[in-house]
């Protein structure tokens, strides 16, 4: 399931839902991304997330389909928020359910790594020095690249 929304989500309820009624699920793995209050040396008072409606959902769907093709997942969920968020707020939930932990762990990491480099979201941080668009990080590109098939 994929959701792109302004509203917060209840991570616990989503994890419960992921395995509900499916006794083949032996493990659920989750990643929750939060807004930090620091960006390097700068303190961040708020973050605004923008996205490309339409392409965002398509890109997330493609990433989920890729994960399902690579790992034996019983289910997975991706929820990503947009709009203005404060430090400590939840940004994203990625969770996977599988019979065994390895598939759940790996698919979860794959989903967030590819999401970060492929899904059309952009972060703008409000700092004491003014607002600035967050730049993409080479470390994120490297994290995503290790899942490229050779």
């Amino acid at each position: 399931m994929i959701r792109v929304q302004a509203d917060d989500f209840d991570a616990g309820a989503e994890l419960e839902h992921l395995a509900a009624g499916n006794r083949r699920v032996g493990g659920v793995c989750a990643f929750v991304g939060l807004v930090r209050d620091m960006a390097g040396e700068r303190s961040v008072s708020a973050m605004t997330l923008e996205h490309y409606p339409g392409m965002t959902e398509k890109a997330l769907q493609a990433i989920v389909e890729e994960a399902r093709a690579r790992w034996p997942l019983e289910d997975c969920v991706v929820i990503h928020r947009y709009g203005r968020l404060a430090p400590g707020d939840r940004i994203v939930l990625v969770a996977t359910a599988s019979a065994h932990r390895q598939a759940a762990f790996e698919a979860c990491q794959f989903l967030i790594d590819w999401l970060k480099t492929k899904a059309p979201f952009w972060k703008k941080e409000d700092t004491a020095a003014g607002a600035r668009w967050v730049e993409a990080r080479a470390t994120d590109d490297r994290a995503a690249a290790r899942w490229e098939t050779r």
Partner: protein, 83 residues
Amino acid sequence: MKVLYFAWLRDKVGFGEESVTPPTDVGDVAGLVDWLRGRGGGHAEALADMAMVRVAVNQEYVTLDQPVAADDEVAFFPPVTGG
């Protein structure tokens, strides 16, 4: 042709969406970029360095040699920073 700009590209261009009718010799993304730059102002600044810009046609990532046509939706944006 519908053209969209996101994040700092939108800030530089001054708006997020426009409808354009490029001349018929504009056949691919590279040609469209050249034509948009030629309009000067914010477009020239936003599209100055395409190494900093990602392009999607009809909501799929493409490279500069991707053909474009009148009924396409073309989006320009920086490398993504979600998650």
